[in-house]
Structure formats: C-alpha cells, structure tokens
Symmetry: C2
Subunit: 344 residues, 2 copies
C-alpha cells in the first residue's frame, strides 16, 4: 500500500535567526518497508517544540548537524500503526524523535544517543495526548528532576528561575512554591511577568527586556539566591552568579540565549571568585539520566495537579502546514507554556 508522506524538510542550515525560507514543504510517496526486529511504523499525532531543536539544526559538539534536504528532526507523540516490537503494540501512543513528517520507521528502544529524554515512553492509559506531551512531558520532568535533584530546595530559600514563563520554567517555579521557596522569575515582557505573579503566585518577576536585571535582583533577593534554575545562560547567568547566596546551587538546564546565534560561545559566568568564596555549585544535567524515576515524577505531578497546586498550560496549534511558523514562536518570545501542534 502506497501512502503520501507529508514532510517539512530543512532546506538550508540557518546561520543566525531562523526564518520561513529555511524550510520546504514536500509530499513523497511512502512505501512502508518490512519492519526489522524491534522496529515500529508510526504516524505522527502531536508535535512538540523545544529550544534545543535550534542547536540540532546547526549541529554542535555533541550532535551532528541535521542533514539538509531531510525532514526537520523533532520530538512527537505518534501512534503505532505497525509493529515488530512487543513493547510497542499497534494502537499505542509513544513519544519519539521522528521529524516533521506523517510516517516514520524507527526503533523506540534505541537510546544510544543519550539525549533522547522521554523518547520511547508509552502514553499510559487514561492520559490525554496533550497531557502526555504537556503536563507530563519532558519539560515538566526536566523541571522536576533539575529542581529537586540539583537545586535541593528547602523551605524558606529563595529560588530564581530564568525563562520562567516557559514550559520548563513555569513548572520549576510552581514546584519551588509548593516546597516552600520564595520564587522570583525572569521573563521577557510585562505580560509574562504579570502572569507569573498574578496567576502562578510567584513572589516577584523581572522583565529582562525593560528592567535592569542586576538592580532588580538586588531588590528582590536581598539575602541572595539559594537556587538558580537557569534555562537561559549568557548575561542572565552572569547576573545571577553575582547575586547567589553562600552555598547556592545553580541547575544548568539550558542556554537558550545562545541557541539562535551564529556564534554560541560569547562569555561565560565571569565571577568565578564568588563561585569559590561562596561555595557555589553549578551543575549541568540531562533529564534522561533520571529515566528510572519517571514514574515517581508522574505520580507527584498528578497529585499536585489534582490538588490544584501546579497548573500547566499548553499553547496548541493545529495543522501540519503550520509546523515552521509554530516553531519560530519559540524564539520570538510570544509563546507561553508548552508549545504543541496537532497534526491533521
């Protein structure tokens, strides 16, 4: 049976900001191959957008660049429509890295690249597709493990979160609140800052676009920052180090400030004397290291959500045609919560 496979391919590798011309739409005839051992055939249902996809495009020291002329690599929730793998029966929904296309053949149990957090996870019965990629998605798991394992929050401590209105950051902030922290968020724009304080109950928010971040940190964190959960890096990390309290912990989650540049290495956190004298810890992490504890995180997130103590918002678009434009929303500062696109 021949099928039409819609694809958005990477037409060229952008050097600076991404734009619509970097992608090209095409339809190809897809003849499903004979599935090898452990392989499955999937149909994409819901695409998720991550800032780090930007780094996959250009490649990095950790990952080969995406090939030009091939579908844009992307995480998605997909339906299994053919299976030669008993762990992934036909009809189940699985989180995969499958690219911007309708169909793909892959082995969901291959974690050899070490970074495919959450890929190969099966959606539990009774969980909605949106919740699977949203409330219980990789962003929430990243927030959960980064804050609790590296930040190790204690009641009364001050938690600072950059990218606080984003999918990961907003979950970090809420989990921090329910652990008794005083939580300050950094976000871009008055709307996002108001949302953080008025809707999510943060103790303060800093608009990095219009405010002096260093001065505001001094005002809002007079006793210093005990935990900094950093999604942004660059100048924000540099400011934060200057305001850390003794024995502070910095969970390094992302460096979105540098993803969209041609040159990703500008300056690092410069105040290393403070890191030494104030016994700071800066630690990078990757959520897939905590794979064996995902069930615990699911249970906590479910309970907190049912009790109304965390809320999760998704920003959901519809239609395969909108994939590139939706992706660009990650970088123009208009997206809030988890950015998803449901395929038609």
């Amino acid at each position: 049976m021949d099928m039409i496979n819609r694809q958005w391919i990477l037409a060229r590798r952008p050097q600076a900001n991404i734009g619509p011309d970097d992608f090209e739409y095409r339809e190809i005839t897809f003849v499903p191959p004979i599935l090898q051992d452990r392989e499955i055939l999937v149909r994409s249902r819901l695409f998720r957008f991550l800032p780090t996809m930007r780094t996959y495009m250009k490649g990095s020291q950790f990952r080969k660049p995406m090939p030009e002329g091939a579908p844009m690599q992307s995480p998605a929730a997909a339906e299994v429509i053919g299976s030669n793998n008993p762990d992934f029966p036909v009809g189940s929904i699985v989180s995969v890295m499958m690219g911007w296309q309708d169909y793909a053949v892959l082995d969901p149990s291959d974690h050899s690249d070490g970074f495919s957090a959450g890929f190969g996870m099966l959606k539990p019965e009774g969980m909605s597709l949106i919740d699977f990629e949203g409330l219980y998605g990789v962003n929430s798991l990243t927030a959960y493990f980064g804050l609790l394992e590296i930040g190790a929050p204690a009641a009364g401590e001050t938690l600072l979160v950059s990218g606080a209105a984003g999918s990961t950051g907003s979950m970090v902030a809420q989990i921090g609140k329910l652990h008794g922290c005083r939580v300050i968020g950094i976000a871009g724009g008055r709307d996002k800052c108001d949302w953080l304080v008025d809707e999510l109950g943060l103790d303060g928010a800093i608009d990095y676009k219009s405010e002096d971040v260093g001065a505001r940190l001094g005002e809002l964190c007079p006793r210093g920052v005990n935990i900094f959960f950093d999604n942004v890096g660059g100048a924000i990390l540099d400011f934060a180090v200057d305001h850390m309290a003794p024995f502070g912990r910095i969970a390094l989650c992302g460096q979105i400030s540098s993803y969209d540049d041609g040159e990703s290495l500008a300056t690092g956190p410069r105040n290393m004397m403070r890191v030494i004298y104030w016994r700071l810890k800066m630690q990078g992490f990757v959520v897939s290291d905590y794979r064996n504890a995902f069930e615990t995180a699911y249970a906590d997130l479910r309970r907190w959500h049912e009790e109304g103590r965390v809320r999760h918002s998704s920003d959901i678009y519809e239609g395969f045609r909108l994939l590139p434009r939706t992706f660009m929303r990650l970088f123009d500062g208009t997206s809030k919560g988890t950015l998803l696109l449901r395929s038609d």
Copy 2:
C-alpha cells in the same frame, strides 16, 4: 616594657603587578596593652605566602581592601607570649592572620570572617614549625578536602591539576596518584613539568608557557578529564571545560590567573553547553568548612608521608627584611612548593 615592632606596611594599593615600592619598612615602639578576654599576644615566627593575599590587597566583593599604611595582612605561625585565653597558653604555637610584623594582639578563636582557614589551629606536640605550615598547612588541607570531597576520585579516572607545581597543586597530584588516578599537571616552564613527571610521578605535564594547552589536553587525555582541580581559572579553566568527560567534576580552588590584574573579571568558562550536556559539576569550596575533619586529614597526610607516598617541599627564606621580595616570588613563577619565610 616597651618593645620594637618591625613592620612592613602596605604603602600603596597596587593596581596591576605588585612591586617593591608598594611596601614600606618601619619600626615602631610597641606597648603591649592589657589583654581582653580571649585575647593573646603573639610573636611571629614563620610567615606563609598565599596567592589570595594579592586579592586581600586590592579588596574584593568578599573582603574590604587592606588599609594603606597598616601592616600587610598575612598568615603566620606565631608563638604565644602573653595569653588571656585558656585554649592558647603561653609557649604554644598558633596559626594566625597577624600581618607582616613582630608582635600582634588578637583573638585566635574569632572565625567571624569565615575565610581564616586554619587560623587559630594549635601546632601539635612533636610537629616541626615548618611541617605545621608546610606538609600539614592550609595548602595541603585544601588539596586534601577539595580533591576528596568535591573531586571524589575513583581509581582509573583522569585527574587534571592546574598550578600543579604549586604547594596545593603538587599535593593534589600526589593524593590523586595514591587514589589510583591518571594525573596530568599544568605548570609554567619545562623545569616544573619535568619535576612533576620525574620526581612526583605524574603521568604527564603541560607547560602552559610554551605549549598549546588545548592540543596537549587532547593528546594526554584522550578519554577526557574526569576531575579538574583548578587553582588558576581564566583561559586554563576554559580549555579544561572543553576536555571534560561526561559526569566530570571541577573543584574550583583558586583563580590565580586573575589575582595580579587590575581587572579581575575577564571571561568565564564559555562552553556552558558542554557543562549541561556532559553533566559537569563545577563547585567552589573553602577549606575552613572542613575544620572539624582536619584531624583526619592530618592522620592521613602523616601516614602517606611516612610511607613515602606523598612528599612536600617548602621553599624557605630567612629574615624579616625579605618579606616583600619573597611574596613577589609567588607571582613571578620561580617558587615551587610552599613558600615560607622564617623571621629573625
């Protein structure tokens, strides 16, 4: 009884490299005051020189600058010659921060600044004055706790040490060897590098003055660096981050590369993406936090030294007059081991 108190005072606060004109010798009449509760009167016996004294001179975000016109602040081993503190009887030897002078009155149990590592320690019976400040001095304790507590070395791992020929670095390297690590040192000059390999048994050494540090790290650490003990900071730290192995630990001990500059904040470690993806930990520490475990460290160091598994060298000068010139040896690269000056 009037006494003559010789002093070297800080004549002016240097902006860049320190020189002989920054200090001024004087002799003043010293009338010992009535000792208050817990105070002692001490006579300096052995001065120790630390790179961080450079930062005390200009002041920093953590410490007020040394006052001009007052004795240069410095650690020393001193004899108690008057005491109103039962813990520090007359005749005992105590490690103190007393400045470049013959006599001082102080409370050795005051640790309120939090950074006076080892100050207020009494020299145990049977330990020589030189060993008290050398083999068992703060530099060795810093090496011991920084490597074992933050580096957490395992046999077979690769340990990289900057400032490896220095007092702290050479001890780190040796403690690393006896924990089964492959140890690579970074030092300035062929002589120091030869000494590290031929005398201390390191597996390799990089001369940062004549070699391409990045290229040599690639050659000597093909599987990456598991532990980096950094005394230097700056460009060396930046290179090291580029060569860390996954789950690597960086113990941040010092930033000597920036102590002698007018401007101490150049660039930090820039490759933060590697810190994230490779789950690196960078952690600052201050040895005084481990005060309660110093006895354990003494016992280990004594055993290792008696077994011939660590050696410690001190570079000892004689004569109060030589204080400034001896201090400058720390920064011109000619000193090896713990730099000490015995007062006359």
